[in-house]
Amino acid sequence: MNDIVTLLNAIIQAINTLLLNNTDPAVDAKLWKLRNVFTALRDTAMGKIYDKTTGDYVAAQKGLTTAAKAANDAIDGVNAVATAMQPLITAAQAADKVIGLLNLVL
């Protein structure tokens, strides 16, 4: 499984694509907020070394992978963008537990 920074980049890129395709202002605001959170997490995690064997790290990897898939399904039209929101929020919280930036309450 990919490391956290790679997965965070994949999610940010997926959110960027959703932002380019989206025309709903309410969804737009949520996507921007999520992108800011994921980018802040990514910028903090970059270059740091994490123990990849801990339960928190593995949970973050799983959450981010699930969220990336949900976001890409929304890009492909398999699911609505709204369906991807909860996996993205859950993944951000799981990643933050490892990175320790925000103590996220979303």
Partner: protein, 304 residues
Amino acid sequence: MNNHDTSARRLVLAIAVGIGVCGCATTDQLSQARQFSTAAAALATATNQAFTEINDANSEYKMSEVALGRAELTPDTLSGVLDKNNRLKARQDILNALGKYATALNGLATADTTTAIDKAATDLSGSVSSLGSGYQTLTGHSLGVSRGDLAVIATAVKALGEAYANEKRYEAIKSIVPTADKWVQTVCADLASDLKSSPGTYQTDLQSKYVADFEAYRAEQAGLSYSAKLARLESLRSETRALAVADTSISKVADSALALAKAHGALSSSLTRPDYKIGDLVDAIGQLQQYATDIKTFNDSLKK
């Protein structure tokens, strides 16, 4: 002709051939050392510029978010990822040290005044020390630069004295390059590994800036003239071009670090192994020169 005459002639011929071969090898390897040094220094500079570009892309997307009203302005907005991340900054310091080492090596291979040799000696010691400290910052481990190693370098340079003959330069480089090779191999492998371990970061930052510019265009297009719209659209198209090659370019930067290590290793082997094929060294340096050109081309394309 008696046997003694024949033997004497053979001996004289063997010595003459031997001197000829040694002279050629020395000249060839000095020439290769110069070519390596020039290519390595150019590569280090070009790679550092690429790091600066990565840093700028990081701050530019944050500035675009603020300009769009999607984020608040904070001191962090204006700093790139290199500015706030010691490990990334350490990589840049290591590249600077590698470039300085290569330049000093070139100085040693070409110096023809005492002042120039003194400068090369100072730069060599300084660059090796910087390699060690940069590596320590990056990994938390010592690179293993010992006082004995530094003494080898100092002694080799000192032995040059005021004699600038090629043989003397060759002997100095023959002492220094194999001593430094283990450090160059270690730091280059580490640089490449780090750059490859987080693929997509640079591309993501470029994309985030593009999204902000795209959204700003959509919001503002009604008030723009035809020519202003075209200019903005052209700018957006340039961004998509940069996006398309972003990952490839970073991967090339990582590979170039490995090419630098390979060429340095080949140079070291050519100096220490009599059976080493000079053609392998020429190939390795050729690859290094190609990487330096490619990365410079990439950097130049970003400035357009």
